[in-house]
């Protein structure tokens, strides 16, 4: 007999969340590897063929790394990876923790909405004025700026999901401090503590 409806629904949601996180981590990994390659090309290129050596590597590394950071920041919401002092939270009973976490989610939703809204305004201004970087590359800066609303938007979705979980699907055994949400992930994906 198949699993009851709600369980199956939760299973597919979990799968979507898993794939979503995997995509974010993979994009970040690819961007990071790309940044490394460019940096090495610049350093060695300078000695091997100074004539054609690139001088915009560091600038491009900034764009790539910031995009990677903004994308992976959303995955950090899902896995509860953003550094936070949880000592006071640990002293609270699960029911109280739940309310505090919901409050945190609401503030986060407000802030990340701001990142999307005002980030978008920053992007449109840059497009309007056709702002370029000052290097030889003349890089259209709006592409870099777009990382802000995109990162904010991804985090916004994650915080909405987090809020829904705390509001309607609260499970004191796994969703209170000391039982991080990340522990629900398969063990081979166990994510180490943040630096």
């Amino acid at each position: 007999m198949s699993a009851p409806e709600p369980a199956r629904a939760q299973g597919s949601v979990a799968r979507i969340l898993f794939v979503w996180g995997w995509i974010e981590r993979t994009i970040a990994g690819l961007l990071g590897a790309f940044a490394l390659v460019i940096a090495v090309l610049q350093v060695f290129g300078r000695y091997i063929d100074p004539e054609r050596a690139i001088n915009w590597a560091e600038e491009v590394i900034v764009y790539i790394a910031v995009w990677a950071v903004m994308i992976v920041a959303s995955e950090l919401v899902q896995s509860d990876g953003h550094v936070r002092p949880d000592l006071v939270l640990r002293l609270l009973r699960p029911a109280a923790q739940r309310w505090v976490e919901m409050f945190n989610c609401l503030v986060a939703i407000a802030f990340t909405s701001g990142m999307v809204w005002y980030g978008w305004a920053v992007v449109s201004t840059a497009v309007l004025l056709d702002q370029r970087s000052s290097s030889d590359l003349q890089f259209p800066i709006w592409i870099y700026y777009t990382a802000l609303p995109v990162g904010g938007g991804l985090m916004l979705l994650r915080y909405i999901i987090r809020l829904i979980r705390y509001a309607f699907l609260f499970d004191p055994a796994t969703m209170t401090v000391g039982h991080a949400i990340s522990h629900e992930a398969p063990p081979e994906l166990a994510i180490p503590v943040t630096e």
């Binding site: 981590r25 993979t26 970040a28 990994g29 690819l30 961007l31 990071g32 590897a33 940044a35 490394l36 940096a39 090495v40 610049q42 350093v43 560091e58 590394i61 900034v62 790394a65 910031v66 990677a68 950071v69 903004m70 992976v72 920041a73 995955e75 950090l76 990876g81 953003h82 550094v83 936070r84 002092p85 949880d86 000592l87 006071v88 939270l89 640990r90 505090v100 976490e101 409050f103 945190n104 503030v107 986060a108 407000a110 802030f111 701001g114 990142m115 005002y118 980030g119 305004a121 920053v122 201004t125 870099y144 700026y145 990382a147 802000l148 401090v177 180490p192 503590v193 943040t194 630096e195």
Partner: protein
């Protein structure tokens, strides 16, 4: 009046367990709102603050640390220290101090050190009958050596915020780092004798040399970084990239810590760690930007100048202030919060900014291991499943040693400044 309200809100959000970047970001947003500045300025500022090439050394160094952590480097260093220290009573404790100092020098991150060394040494020490509290204490405290021994992420950030030369700061960190490692070493030696901790079997000279040779490639990373920077071949960011590539090659080819196919996964993992810090940096710099614009730092300098503070009084006050802030805020946030305000005040008050950089980073080390938000405490509690309270009790003697070393660093500036002056002149 509303300053009090603001502080209550600020610490209230922290106490609620809100991520640091959100606390700083929300506070900045409220400050912008109250002072009538447009919110778009905040967004613009946030993304522009990240547009810094020096800042990019950070994700690259974190990548190097991640390769190192996965790549069997930690094990090679532990083997190296065990080979030479095995015969001494309490040798695993000494091994922890020495290999943490070495790993910290290589990875540049205190938390990475606690993580890498904790996962290897903690089970080994508990197996050999060391009290868990002591094992947690020595690993957690020794991990902090990474904050001052170059290449250090904290010193890079300090250099960015205060516009000081990073190579100079790196040199300044070496002797204080060694002093701290020495103090820990002597304490473990003494404590092990008193508690009669076990010793490991001594190894033959042939084995020692073999183990040493195996650990040499691990040392290639700090070598590349220091050669690149002090040889004048590369910028900090380029040397960070090269350190990451070297670490990758050493880990995959020499130690076979993980297969090539895992490289992307490890990079992604490193970027997750870097993202945590960089989001905090972005929001903290916006917060700091508002601070600078508000004229508070200038008033602080005026105030200090009018009070006729002696340099030593100023330094004492700063240490107390930083230790208090360290109780509430995590390392990077403290740096980014306080330095924009303090930096302009240093020279008028007769403090060398390089010297202050080391005082500051040492303060941060203390902050890493003292409650309630010492990050190393949580890292260790997470990997050992020990309650945070047990980690805190274990770390207490080391915390006292750290404070003594802090006093020496603060009031003997020559300890810090001698090396950079010898290399670069004053």
């Amino acid at each position: 009046m509303w300053t009090v309200g603001f502080l209550v809100m600020f610490f209230g959000l922290l106490a609620a367990g809100m991520p640091i970047f959100l606390v700083l970001g929300t506070s900045a947003a409220i400050l912008y709102f109250v002072s009538g500045q447009p919110m778009i300025g905040l967004a613009q500022n946030m993304i522009d603050q990240l547009n810094s090439t020096t800042l990019m050394a950070l994700p690259l160094f974190v990548m190097a640390a991640a390769f190192m952590r996965r790549g069997g480097v930690a094990q090679a260093l532990v083997d190296l220290s065990t080979a030479w220290l095995g015969g001494i009573k309490g040798s695993l404790g000494l091994v922890a101090v020495v290999s943490c100092a070495l790993f910290a020098a290589i990875s540049g991150s205190s938390v990475a050190t606690a993580l890498a060394m904790g996962t290897i040494l903690l089970p080994a020490m508990i197996d050999r009958g060391y009290p868990r509290g002591f094992a947690l204490g020595v690993i957690g405290a020794s991990g902090t050596i990474g904050v001052v021994i170059p290449p250090s992420l904290a010193l890079i950030l300090y250099g960015i915020v205060t516009e000081q030369s990073v190579p100079r700061l790196f040199l300044a960190g070496i002797l204080p780092g060694l002093l701290q490692a020495g103090a820990f070493f002597v304490w473990v030696l003494y404590y092990a004798r008193r508690k009669n901790f076990p010793r490991e079997p001594a190894m033959s000279m042939r084995t020692r040399l073999r183990v040493t040779a195996r650990a040499l490639p691990a040392m290639a990373v700090p070598f590349v970084v220091l050669m690149g920077i002090y040889g004048g071949f590369m910028t900090i960011t380029e040397s960070a990239a090269l350190a990451a590539v070297t670490a990758l090659l050493v880990s995959v080819v020499v130690y076979r810590g993980f297969p090539w196919t895992r490289t992307l996964v490890v990079i992604a993992e490193a970027l997750r760690s870097a993202a945590v810090i960089m989001l905090i940096i972005a929001t903290a710099l916006v917060f700091g930007h508002w601070m600078t614009g508000s004229g508070i730092p200038g008033r602080l300098v005026d105030f200090a100048a009018h009070q006729g503070f002696a340099t030593w009084e100023f330094l004492l006050a700063m240490n107390v202030l930083l230790l208090i802030i360290g109780c509430f805020l995590e390392v990077v946030s403290t740096l980014l919060l306080v330095m924009p305000i303090l930096a302009p005040a240093l020279v008028p008050l007769g403090v060398d900014p390089v010297h202050f950089g080391i005082i500051f980073t040492h303060n941060m080390e203390v902050g890493l291991v003292h409650p309630p938000v010492g990050l190393n405490l949580y890292v260790l509690s997470t990997i050992s499943d020990a309650p945070v309270g047990e980690v805190i009790r274990g770390i207490l003697p080391f915390l006292i040693l750290l404070l003594i070393v802090l006093g020496i660093i603060t009031y003997v500036p020559e300890l810090t400044l001698w090396l950079p002056r010898m290399v670069y002149g004053s």
